[in-house]
Amino acid sequence: MKRRPSAVALAAGAGAHPAIPDLAATARRNAADRRDFLRTATLLGLSATAAYALAGLAPGTARAAAGASGGTLRISMKVQEMTDPARFDWTEKSNVARHIVEYLTMTGTDNVTRPYLAESWSASEDLKTWNFRLRRGVRWSNGDAFGAEDVAYNFRRWVDPKTGSSNKSLFSGLSAGGVEVVDRHTVRLHLSKPELAIPENLYNYPAAIVHRRFSDEGGDLSKNPVGTGPYRLAEFSIGQKAVLVRREKSAYWGPRPNPERILYIDHGDDPMAGIAAIASGQADLNYEISPDQLELVQAMPQLQLLEAATAQTAVARMRVDRPPFDKVAVRRAVQACIDHDRLLELGYRGRGAAGEDHHVAPVHPDYAALPKQRQDYALARKLLAEAGHPNGLELSIDCRSAPSWEPTTVQAMSAMCRPAGIDLKINTMPSEQYGDIWNKTPFGFTGWTHRPLGVMVLNLAYRSAAAWNESAYANSAFDRVLDRANATLDIPARRRHMAECERILQRDAVIVQPLWRSIFAVGSKNLRGYRLHPTNYHQLGGAGLG
């Protein structure tokens, strides 16, 4: 039976979801841990502070020591084209844009999602109707007032296939007709199926809100940088630099960020260049370093190492519709060769968690632990013989040359495959080239960024015909269980559905997932008030130089 949206939730806009009292009680009894409660409650529209109080925690997350206001923050990062935020495909693009255009929600470094351009939100009991109350008094940099029409325009644009936005599969239950402007400051979404992670999805990097006339005015943010954000784009040249200057205090609705100017400097593809720039006082922060640079950075007293535990990973995924991977026995044979703990050691110096071939991370609240996988060469050989390869098999995997841990890990995988008679050849290529074939090659090693909930990445990458389904995996049974997980609010209950999703993915051997990795960046010693975000999103408001 279709459940009606709760009158309480929808009428007040800021009203609490009916499930919140139960959740709070569960949290206090520790049946779901308090962090899980916090996350789910804030997802359902309770303010983060109120959620902390309900769960019996001290409000707020520990902030790094505050930085001083003013000055220029210089960041070493690739400066790529920045045409259309809805079509961003690299986080770096969004990092320049996110100071100009803003999001409806914001997920903190603690994985809790809070109000941003949306002041509050609420969901119906069946999680199919979502109400967003927008912040008042927000103005675009061109003087226009920000409101529901802007937000509706963005939603409709994302779900229009002509736009080519990855947001389309993120909001797969939404059609253009399902976006309703209730009043000047309220937008309602009518979804065709339950979705829990709408607020989380709204902070995904291609979901920045652009002006309602974005397309009419050229559709290029770098040429016409109209935004609600605290900075204006003063200079932009691809491959060289981007300069952002803080807007007047009266022009911006929110708290004033510390840096007066943000300067992004492109130091090219060589990661050493960024480190050298910070070490010699030419930059204050870089985008990311690889784990094999850790020792170097730790040896230099003028640098500080920034670290974040994440659900970032890379998966060796097999196209299940291409031979020889169309035979599940072949895929399972590859899987049986892998010792995941050893791969974490060899590929990432043990800094992270071992993968389990189902793309749900231990840091996800909806993660369910499954029995540990074991390396089993006898099984691998048996499976190969079953698949018609009793004398072994030659395979080739495509892999990016950078970041360096990726080819290193694939090399270790290749060595692990050899005793079973699988000769795994490695074809390394520049990232740009891999970007062309990431979803086409029969066997490829693809990097995946962090997402705060396990369901999110399963929706993006493993649901039948999803936009980023690079393995062409299509299993209606899996889709059904995933739908149930999406619709289940109660955390222990959702974990049961997730356990089933994880088991199906593991059994169908769609991917070999070596590890979950921590990420690292480098700052100068005098950088204050900055915490590395698990998705590398630059939240620089509190950052400054001490």
Binding site: R87, G239, L263, D266, I275, A276, Q282, M300, I437
Partner: protein, 314 residues
Amino acid sequence: MLFFLLKRLGMLALTMLVVSIVVFLLLELTPGNVAAKVLGQYATAEQQRLWLEANGYFDPAFERYLRWLAKLLTGDLGESLCYKVPVGDILWPRLLNTVVLGAAVLAIMVPLSLTLGVIAGMREGRPSDRAISIISIVTTSVPEFASAAFLSALFVFALGWLPGTSAMSGGFDWRELVLPVAVLVLYDFGYVARMTRASMADVMTQPYIRTALLKGLTFRVVVLRHALRNALIAPFTVILLQVNWLLSGVIVVESFFAYKGFGALLLEASLFGDIFLIEACAMVAVVVAVVTQTLADIAYAYLSPRIRFAGGPV
């Protein structure tokens, strides 16, 4: 002389044509989806098809090539796929940066290597010759990426004297030029010094030098008045050929120090498969190669009366 220049001009045009065809064919044969690069890798297939059609990518390769060639003849280099601006807007500033880098390298490398080469060559086998020869061989054998890392470790990380990158994000700063120039000079001076030494040593064994010495002239006068002019002919052409190397051979150094020059641009364009930008870079490289060779030939003929231009009086 005029005939020689016309012939060279013809050669230049022909070389450019051949190189442009080869580059075009190579990029044509390399797998890669141009539309995905321009529209982002998550654009829909339909969107990509529309873009390819609008930009004439469904026409036969030779048609697209001829269209590009026709535009080139009118001075239009096309638009860069990666940078989304006309190729000229990005190419000329980057080329200028490399000219600045190259000029700084030549300004230091030429006097240094000539002086060392002459000192070594005028007294062959002496300790000064041995020392200069060993230093030259050692520095030339160390590849640029190794000396770049070594110099950075020393002057950036250990001593903190110099900036580690040369992106010039705050405008021109000569301090940012020091390390890239040092690496290139270190790599190249030994080669030119060795050439100069060989040439000088050869001249010093000539009968006219012995005659001059036996005439009672001082060693200093013999070297400065008689030996030098003849000894510098060969190094001069070698130095002119270094100009060509400085244009395309600086990729490693520019990439290491994030110097925004021609070499780094060529690398980025190649990684992205930015066809018009690669073609434009190739054309510039051909022009520079042919022009420096022509200049070297002319200068050689001027310095050495034994050489005459083909077709001229014998």
